[in-house]
Assembly symmetry: C2
Homo-oligomer: 405 residues x 2
């Protein structure tokens, strides 16, 4: 009985019940009914169905409140699985996550920089089938696959609206073709959205929270989650924080905008600055030649710089701090526009410099957020580490198939 017109998939009552049980870890039927504002017979009926389907199980008893002790419910993590695939230029991470959002296995393939979809997608399908066989996950328990990558995308048709990682991917029916290959429901989504919802699903986030995610990979992405649902806007191409202008007179970006955050604060920008600092480039063994041939991924050199910064190298540190201040300014924009409870930092880019980024972004938000009299805004690292996007892909399909159809 969905009520709502957002088009982003309103939760069903049954879905909300499952989501509430998942988030609570253990909960009684009485608490569940109270939390959802439903009658006792309605909850009894919904829970019975969830038990029959094996999604939920009974587990011991809670403390008595006078009458007989209450049977507690919890989700059955191994009853369903989602596959998450994070496709990037130079790497492709595959995870299988259980119903609790915990990864049970993982594989890494070379990315799609120079591979057309006709070759890449069968490779992915083979790897997924091998991974499921290896780990003994029964395919009938797999609800589907969430394939996550950059935007813009046509979310409804599962097609990329950008000639990345190479022109053969533009307008190719990625989701449809992948669904034929793996014989599972497939959704295509944005990697930063995925990282954001993965955090929610882990159960560390309050069900009513509004929070943002800044994803630092090859580029800079963003996602916002409102009460357990990814904010989508008109066409699910929202929160492209890497392409907001932070400098009205800045350089043109390939996206069409000027002075984009990514051009000043992203891995490529930091690496290019480091290359110019010959002393640093030599000391860290950076490679001003050759990177572009490996698909334009600057994460290898960027990781050397963030590691050096984390170890206290003053020149590397000053480059990372500059990037962090720009990201801090963008985090203020994100907060001033979305009024967030907190911001999650996710993605491999933060790597060894995560604490530098976290500290500077927190300082900027504390100092500059418009409504700081209303409430504080925390800046926290992702609980899902550098696989946050792939895990989130698995979570997105679990959510779509079980909570928000």
């Amino acid at each position: 009985m969905p009520v709502g017109r957002s088009g982003g998939g309103a939760a069903t009552t049954r879905g909300l019940a499952l989501d509430t049980i998942r988030a609570a870890r253990t909960i009684s039927r009485v608490e569940l009914a109270a939390g959802l504002g439903l009658t006792s017979p309605a909850i009894t009926r919904i829970v019975r169905d969830l038990l029959v389907e094996g999604l939920v199980r009974e587990t011991g008893r809670g403390p008595s409140t006078g009458g007989k002790p209450r049977t507690l419910l919890q989700i059955n993590p191994t009853s369903r699985y989602g596959v998450g695939v994070h496709l990037e230029r130079n790497t492709c991470v595959i995870v299988v996550a259980d119903l609790a959002g915990q990864p049970v296995c993982r594989a890494v393939l070379p990315g799609a920089a120079h591979v057309p979809p006709e070759r890449m997608l069968p490779r992915l399908a083979d790897e997924i089938h091998a991974l499921l066989a290896e780990t003994g996950v029964n395919k009938t328990a797999v609800v589907g696959l969430g394939l996550v990558t950059y935007g813009p995308q046509d979310w409804r048709s599962g097609v990329l609206l950008t000639p990345q990682p190479n022109p053969q991917w533009l307008d190719y029916p990625v989701a449809e073709r992948m669904a034929e290959l793996v014989r599972l429901p497939v959704l295509l989504d944005n990697d930063a959205n995925a990282a954001a919802i993965g955090e929610y699903w882990l159960g560390t986030v309050d069900l009513t929270s509004t929070y943002g995610c800044i994803y630092l990979g090859t580029g800079i992405g963003g996602g916002v989650v409102v009460a357990g649902e990814v904010y989508r806007g008109s066409s699910a191409n929202a929160v492209e924080i890497g392409h907001i202008s932070i400098d009205v007179d800045g350089a043109p970006c390939t996206c069409g905008n000027t002075g984009c955050l990514e051009r000043s604060a992203g891995p490529e920008a930091v690496v290019r600055q480091a290359w110019k600092t010959s002393n640093l480039a030599r000391r860290l063994g950076l490679d001003p030649k050759g990177r572009d041939q490996q698909g334009g991924d600057f994460l290898v050199d960027f990781s050397k710089i963030t590691t050096a910064a984390g170890s206290g190298d003053p020149i590397a540190k000053s480059l990372v701090e500059r990037s962090a201040r720009y990201l801090g300014g963008a985090a203020v924009t994100l907060t001033n526009l979305f009024d967030l409870d907190f911001i999650v930092l996710a993605g491999p880019g933060f790597g060894s410099a995560a604490s530098i980024y976290q500290s500077i972004i927190q300082t900027e938000v504390d100092r500059r957020w418009f409504s700081r009299r209303a409430h504080p805004v925390g800046v926290v690292p992702s609980a899902n580490g550098s696989d946050a996007a792939a895990i989130g892909g698995a979570v997105l399909i679990l959510q779509r198939e079980l909570v928000r159809p």
Copy 2:
């Protein structure tokens, strides 16, 4: 039967039915049931209640589709009214709007720049009672009052979290005190949110649209509406677009941020630039003295500049065009983050230069929006003119009392 946890007031099924009838102008029960995904008996019951309460009326018959012609429903505009009050430093606009969101009367008072709330609120209450008496609106048909002004605010308690228009307003229980004085439900909200939702209520906006509003008054505000609901975030202090940084190395703003849009593109910034252009200042009779004594409102001189720009004065025009380009960049940020279907320009600031602003902002969005391959984003003037915020205040209370309790 609200389903949802956003805290922003999920629509009831009855509320959605009323909202759908309002937006459709005329609709049959069959169409209404189909639109809401409800059974025929459920719709019959809901419509009966709406008819009994007088909110809806039957009006003629639609074309027959084989059987007997269908009775059409429409809202009864004069069955309920909302009062909207837009409080600013130098002016305070009061409107009474009917259930269709159409203003039936209007009054203007001096603003609150130098007046404490203890004196201002009784003045407002007297004026509202006089206005209702004059126009013959029965107070029993008035559902409440929406008082809209700047942020940050504590939306739930109805208290301002800013020492504006003067320090006596900070932490004063504005909504509670006003409710005692007018003996009506009162909500306090942001003026740009109000302008945004006023547009929706007029029935010109598709029920599922996601759109933004840029409000140009003394400052620059913003609002976003998703499927008929104001986007609120954690504490209803979202979309403070006047205080996003457009220049990473810009001047500090009183809000704590640096390089804020308002400091470069708002009325005060344009007026200060005009004052420096002595030829223009003399020609337009601008008043570099005296303005600050009148409450820091730069709208009088700004209006002279926009009028001159609209009439083709090249110097005035170049100042307005610069402001419009900055607003265009901010509109791109708003679109890249919220993925909007369209953007409404509202507020008295646009005045005689509305077409210059609209044209330049549209050009910037067309050229720079990240996902322009997904869909176009239109830039349109508000249908509610310069009273958009006050009318929106009335709409917000109608919506809260009748659609989203």
